[in-house]
Symmetry: C2
Subunit: 151 residues, 2 copies
Amino acid sequence: MASEPRSPLSELSLGAIVALLRSRGLRLTKGRQKILETLLGADGPLSLEQIQRKSICQGVTPDYATVFRIMALLEELHVAQRVHLNRSCSYFELLDPQQHYDHLICTECGRVTLMIDSCPVEKVEQAIGRRYGFSDVHHSLEFFGKCPECR
Amino acid sequence: MASEPRSPLSELSLGAIVALLRSRGLRLTKGRQKILETLLGADGPLSLEQIQRKSICQGVTPDYATVFRIMALLEELHVAQRVHLNRSCSYFELLDPQQHYDHLICTECGRVTLMIDSCPVEKVEQAIGRRYGFSDVHHSLEFFGKCPECR
DNA sequence: GTACCTGCAAAACCTTTGCAGCATC
DNA sequence: GATGCTGCAAAGGTTTTGCAGGTAC
């Protein structure tokens, strides 16, 4: 029944993520640390380009391919996830084991609001798994609409 | 408050869609008709390439750009919508005014199941709009998991 | 010193647009 | 006959990979 957990972390912190990397024989470079800090400090999903721009370390901007590879790695480790937000490129955010976020996206200005309220869907995941015979059910929920400023 | 309706159709049928096109001064070609039939006959979202492959008309495969332009048109008319399904390309499906579909996607084989049960989220849209000050709230909900065959 | 990481560069994809000829109305 | 539609071709973006040199352990 159970397979890979959605997040292998018990908490979302730089230390916890670094420990996970270490346990897999992976290394912590200055660039990686800076990128992890960017992700931890983000208040919503970020595109690769945004991550790159916010992760300038000692005056040096990390290569786009480097950012891509780190995010692919974190995604594979289930530490981060990719969301689309109905845009032309992917956005990434860390998977907080304590908290699940749904998104509220303005169709006019594109601003993304994190919805930290109780998720209206979590409760039905189990029922859906049973009904359709699926295991390891999780979900992606995005609300769209016009934000107060754009109305 | 109200703006463009999510679907301008009163029912989902070839005739209704054609009538809408006509009312906008748009034309119905053999290729378009075939593509509309493909969409109406689909049992889930299709990629542009899938639409193209399934819309061979009198031995002629429509051009990819043509498929793209028709889907862009239908999307603009709110007759079809684009979904991502966490894949690298977009998928399209018609917007049925009578019915709202959420998706259940196998993370192993990628098969998409349409969930025609009552949507667990529709009811809360209004409350979310009020709470965050958003108007015209709609949503995209995708469940992921391992399907019975892949478990 | 070994293995892993990074930057650079190019390839691979998917999406989008321009244009001339063709088909619909 | 006018206008919209199509196919072909090319451009634009984003994502992904190869490789040689550099860095963490």
